[in-house]
């Protein structure tokens, strides 16, 4: 993200309403490598390819805000790898992490990793450090510390079914697990900020908070998210594209001021639930429209979304979730052009 784009983002988050509104998308391995003509594994293992694919996207769509910009990513394996999770890599599929906890009791032996030396984290940091001069020369900066959220990491470590059952059967142990994942997250975010002083935002991705009810969120979600986001940065960005009606009213309490959510809810509903303090990034269907539709479908969906939304402040039109695989260039161009035309 270049300085102008960052300032636009910050202005929107602070409540200014630029005309036209910016369009923003989360882009990462599900979309970017294949769009650029590469496999996911090549993208992860070739620094040049990683850099050039990101620059290609930025240059192809200069009017779009790509969030979080250049970031530390090895798919879903990044954080679990620090806990010792075996990572499975196939040529053109998302890498995934195998469980490390076979029962809730094994939480008792779980150690808090050191982000400076455990798992893939040093590689993630080094890759970005190697590329940082070129990123800067291209006019961009590393703006966000990025991580999976505390519940999301917990489910990678022990399985979603097991974790979500254990919060009912072994709540104390699950609190212990979440304390460890959150302590680790705090360290990991701090280390990213230490390595890249240009960072002024945090992005946490955690769909699991959408799977629990309000009371469970207040117990197992909110305190941990609040701690993970408790840093002196300008943008506190949260992604959860599971249904999140139950937790939405609590998200401002976690310090979040930018939210990307799923298509289960409209922008109007989310604004009503979260209040005016959170900037909403959404909410065109990513797969059915942006991925599988035509440019005309995209134009229609963006128009309908904006017509159905009676506010323009703290709004960044996007899709409901990250950019899905297979979205063609012309659909993104149609999205950006429609937002620009309708919000002048």
């Amino acid at each position: 993200m270049n300085q102008e784009q960052w300032e636009t983002l910050v202005a929107v988050v602070r409540g200014e309403t630029p005309r036209p509104l910016p369009t923003g998308f989360i882009i990462d391995c599900p979309w970017l490598p294949n769009w650029a003509g590469h496999t996911i594994l090549d993208y992860f293992t070739d620094e040049r390819m990683f850099l050039e694919d990101n620059l290609k996207a930025i240059r192809t769509f200069p009017k779009a805000l790509f969030l979080p910009g250049f970031w530390s990513e090895y798919g879903m394996c990044t954080e679990p790898s620090a806990f010792g999770a075996a990572s499975v890599w196939e040529q053109n599929e998302f890498p995934f992490a195998k469980k490390v906890l076979r029962s809730p009791a094994e939480v008792d032996g779980l150690e808090r990793p050191n982000p400076r030396k455990d798992g893939l984290l040093p590689f993630v940091i080094k890759r970005l450090q190697h590329l940082e001069p070129e990123i800067e020369r291209a006019g961009h900066s590393i703006r966000f510390a990025v991580a999976r959220g505390p519940l999301n990491i917990a489910t990678f470590l022990m399985g979603a079914t097991e974790f979500l059952t254990a919060i009912k059967t072994e709540p104390e142990r699950m609190h212990r697990l979440l304390s460890i994942t959150t302590d680790f997250l705090v360290d990991w975010i701090a280390y990213q900020r230490e390595c890249f002083p240009s960072i002024d935002g945090i992005l946490l991705l955690d769909d699991i908070v959408g799977f629990v009810g309000r009371r469970d969120f207040e117990s197992f979600g909110l305190p941990y998210l609040k701690r993970a986001f408790d840093a002196d940065v300008t943008v506190k960005f949260f992604h959860n594209d599971a249904p999140c009606k139950a937790c939405a009213p609590c998200l401002p309490d976690a310090g979040i001021n930018l939210l990307n959510f799923g298509v289960q809810h409209t922008l109007g509903e989310m604004r009503a639930w979260t209040g005016d303090s959170i900037t909403l990034l959404g909410n065109v269907p990513p797969r059915d429209v942006l991925g599988a539709g035509t440019p005309a479908d995209v134009t229609r969906a963006v128009t309908d979304m904006l017509n159905a939304t009676d506010f323009r402040s703290r709004l960044i039109p996007s899709c409901g979730g990250g950019m899905p695989p297979g979205v063609p260039t012309e659909n993104i161009e149609a999205f950006v052009a429609t937002v620009e035309a309708l919000t002048r």
Binding site: T161, A242, A246, R287
Partner: protein
């Protein structure tokens, strides 16, 4: 409160011990095992599915109810088997090749079982040939395919093609579901149905079986 009502309430609370106790008590008093399924378990899981679909109950509550149901079935299964009770239908369920996510599949399996279906869970990362083998050996009426990753959606199509190539596609209805799955994708790959969430999966399964029965009664081949 009757034993059957106690059983339903225990399942809805996710209290496996109370559900098992209510089941044993009902059986001691001469209850028919099948009536405990149809009047105790099935309404409870239907209600949980309804609440889940409407956002009034969440995954942990559903998992706990599933756990309680499983405990009750451990008691009832041998008795149902002795009586030769037939399930509503048999379902073979699995998360498709390349995908290790099991939560959606587990929820659907629990709700189907609670609805009187006999469920064979093939687990996660199931290759097409294992679905084919399961259909050939177990002769289910329905195959359920689950996926969470967008990248594993093609494995759903590959599974349908494998069933077709093996000449057994017409023997089963195929329902699909999972976060990246949509109704239009189900249509595009030729699945028979799409469940938007676990709460709607049981209704879909019932509809698929009903449609099949109706078409057969008209002398038409099942498709």
């Amino acid at each position: 409160m009757s034993d059957v009502s106690s059983l339903s309430e225990a399942i809805e609370r996710g209290d496996a011990k109370a559900a098992a106790a209510a089941t044993r008590r009902a059986l001691e008093r001469g209850a028919d095992p099948m009536s405990l399924v149809s009047e105790g378990i099935s309404p409870a899981m239907t209600e949980m599915g309804r609440q889940f679909g409407e956002g009034d109950c969440f995954v942990p509550e559903l998992l706990m109810a599933a756990r309680a149901t499983k405990e009750v079935f451990e008691i009832l299964r041998p008795l149902l088997s002795q009586k030769g009770t037939k399930p509503v239908a048999r379902v073979v369920l699995g998360t498709v090749r390349g995908d290790l996510h099991d939560i959606g599949k587990n929820l659907v399996g629990a709700l189907l079982e609670g609805g009187g279906f006999e469920v064979t869970d093939l687990g996660v990362d199931v290759p097409p040939e294992r679905f084919v083998a399961a259909v050939e050996h177990q002769k289910p009426e329905i195959v359920g395919l689950s996926a969470l990753l967008t990248t594993t959606l093609p494995a759903m199509k590959a599974t349908l093609e494998a069933l077709r190539d093996a000449g057994i596609r017409g023997q089963v209805k195929v329902m699909i579901g999972g976060a990246p799955v949509t109704a239009s994708y189900a249509d595009a790959i030729g699945a028979d149905g799409y469940a938007e969430n676990a709460g709607t999966a049981v209704d879909l399964a019932r509809r698929l079986i009903g449609a099949d029965v109706a078409s057969r009664s008209k002398g038409e081949p099942a498709t």
